[in-house]
C-alpha cells in the first residue's frame, strides 16, 4: 500500500460496499493494475469479517437445517432450467390413453428422483466433510511452512544449533513434507537440493529450496517422485543454482536414514 495512501480511505469504503459513483469507478480502475491495493482490499474485508463475528446470537431454528438439505437434494449443481412443457397435439380419442401413460411415467420418474435426491444428499455431506478436512490439512501445512510460523529448535546443553531437517514421507501416495532449520545462508549462485535415496542408491531429486533469513525452509510434495518408491535415506546437498539438478554434484549438507 505504500505510495497509495490516497486510495486508503476509499478502499475501506469499497470493502464495505459503500463507495459509489466516480470514486468507485476510479478505484476499480486502479485495482486492476495495483496488486498492493488489491491485497489491502482483501485485508480490509478480513477486518470486516472480524467485525461480523462479533454478531453472536441464537442458533438458527432446527427447521432451517432440513430446509437446506431438502433444497440441496432437489437442486443438483449442474441442473439446468427445466425443459418447457411439451404441448401435446393428439387426437381427443387418445387423450385418456396418453394420460394413463404419462401417469405411469411420472411414478417411475418420481421413484428415480427420490433415489437421486438421496444420492445427491449423501454426496453433499461428503463434499462438506472433505472441505473441512482440507481446511484442517491446510492449517497443518501452514503451521509447518508459513513464513511467519515460529520454528524453534531445542538443543541440549551448550550445543550450538546445527542445520537439521525432518522429512515426512508417505510412500504410497508420493507425499513428502520436508522442513529444515538452522540452514546457513546460501552463497551466491547456490541452492539447496533435497534427495530421496532409494535402496538402489540412485538419488531422486526431491526439490530445490532456499532458506529464509532465519535459516528455515520447506519442501511440500515435490513433483517427480514415482509412486511407491522406498526411501532409504534423505539428503540435502548444496548445488549450483543454475543446475543441472538431476543428480547430486555439490557438497553434502545433511542426511538421515529413513
Amino acid at each position: 500500500m505504500s505510495g497509495h495512501e490516497q486510495y486508503a480511505e476509499d478502499l475501506a469504503l469499497y470493502a464495505l460496499g459503500s463507495l459509489q459513483g466516480e470514486d468507485r469507478a476510479n478505484l476499480e480502475k486502479h485495482l486492476d493494475s495495483c496488486s498492493g491495493c488489491r491485497q489491502e482490499l482483501e485485508a480490509l474485508r478480513g477486518d470486516g469479517a472480524l467485525l461480523a463475528v462479533s454478531a453472536t446470537g441464537p442458533k438458527p431454528p432446527q427447521r432451517s437445517r432440513q430446509r437446506l438439505l431438502d433444497a440441496v437434494a432437489s437442486d443438483p449443481r449442474d441442473s439446468s432450467s427445466p425443459a418447457p412443457a411439451r404441448r401435446f397435439n393428439v387426437w381427443a380419442f387418445f387423450g385418456w390413453a396418453a394420460a394413463v401413460g404419462m401417469f405411469l411415467v411420472v411414478i417411475q420418474l418420481r421413484r428415480q428422483n427420490v433415489s437421486l435426491q438421496e444420492a445427491v444428499s449423501s454426496l453433499g455431506a461428503v463434499v462438506g466433510s472433505q472441505t473441512i478436512e482440507m481446511e484442517n490439512a491446510r492449517r497443518v501445512v501452514d503451521t509447518l511452512t508459513a513464513p511467519d510460523a515460529q520454528a524453534v529448535t531445542l538443543v541440549a546443553g551448550k550445543n550450538p544449533p546445527q542445520p537439521q531437517g525432518k522429512a515426512f514421507y508417505l510412500r504410497n501416495r508420493s507425499g513428502l513434507v520436508f522442513v529444515a532449520n538452522n540452514l546457513a545462508p546460501l552463497p551466491p549462485d547456490k541452492i539447496y537440493e533435497l534427495w530421496l535415496i532409494p535402496p538402489d542408491g540412485k538419488p531422486i531429486a526431491a526439490g530445490l529450496f532456499k532458506p529464509d533469513a532465519k535459516g528455515n525452509a520447506s519442501v511440500i510434495n515435490p513433483p517427480g517422485i514415482p509412486a511407491g518408491v522406498e526411501a532409504k535415506t534423505f539428503a540435502v546437498t548444496l548445488e549450483s543454482a543454475t543446475g543441472p539438478h538431476d543428480a547430486p554434484r555439490g557438497t553434502g549438507v545433511m542426511a538421515g536414514g529413513a
Binding site: 460496499g17 459503500s18 485485508a43 474485508r45 470486516g48 462479533s54 453472536t56 438458527p60 437445517r65
Partner: protein
C-alpha cells in the same frame, strides 16, 4: 453440506440476524448463502483465510443487499478476503467476538457508531455524514481507522 451447515450455520445466522433484525429474513439469507456455496463451492479460496470468515463476509453483504432491497452487488467468487485470525471453530469465533466487542467498547463512541452504521446497517459514508452532521472526510477516516484498529489488535 450437512457438516458445513452444522459448523457454520450459527455464524451465518447471527450475522444475518444482526443486520436484518428479523428471524424469517435471516433464515432466508442462511438458506441463500449455503445454496450459493453448494452451487459454487470453488468460490471460496482456502488460501486466503478460513471458510468461517469468508461466510461471515458473504452473509453480511447478502444481508445488506436484502436490507437495502437491491440486487446483489458482487458474485461470491469476487469476494476474496484475507484474514489471519483463525475463525474455523465456534470456540475460535467466540474468542474473536469477545475481543472485537472489547475493542469496539474502547473506541470513541463516534467511531464505533460510524463503523457499525457502515457495516451492519449498510449506510454509505454520505448517509452517515448526513445522519450525524459530520464532514464526509471525518466519516471516511473513522471507518478506515476502525477497521485497521481491529486488524492491528489481532496481529499483536
Amino acid at each position: 453440506m450437512a457438516a458445513l451447515y452444522d459448523r457454520y450455520s450459527s455464524i451465518v445466522y447471527s450475522v444475518a440476524l444482526r443486520v436484518l433484525g428479523d428471524t424469517g429474513a435471516a433464515e432466508d439469507i442462511l438458506q441463500d448463502v449455503f445454496m450459493q456455496l453448494w452451487r459454487n463451492p470453488n468460490a471460496f479460496d482456502s488460501n486466503r483465510g478460513s471458510l468461517g470468515a469468508w461466510l461471515a463476509v458473504i452473509t453480511r453483504n447478502r444481508a445488506i443487499d436484502a436490507l437495502r432491497k437491491r440486487r446483489p452487488e458482487n458474485d461470491i467468487e469476487d469476494v476474496v478476503i484475507s484474514v489471519e485470525t483463525d475463525l474455523a471453530s465456534e470456540a475460535d469465533r467466540s474468542r474473536a467476538a469477545e475481543k472485537v466487542r472489547g475493542l469496539l467498547g474502547s473506541m470513541p463512541a463516534a467511531q464505533r457508531s460510524a463503523l457499525e452504521m457502515a457495516y451492519f446497517e449498510g449506510l454509505t459514508h454520505t448517509e452517515i455524514a448526513a445522519k450525524t452532521g459530520e464532514p464526509l472526510g471525518t466519516i471516511k477516516t473513522r471507518i478506515r481507522a476502525g477497521l485497521t484498529t481491529l486488524r492491528k489488535a489481532f496481529q499483536e
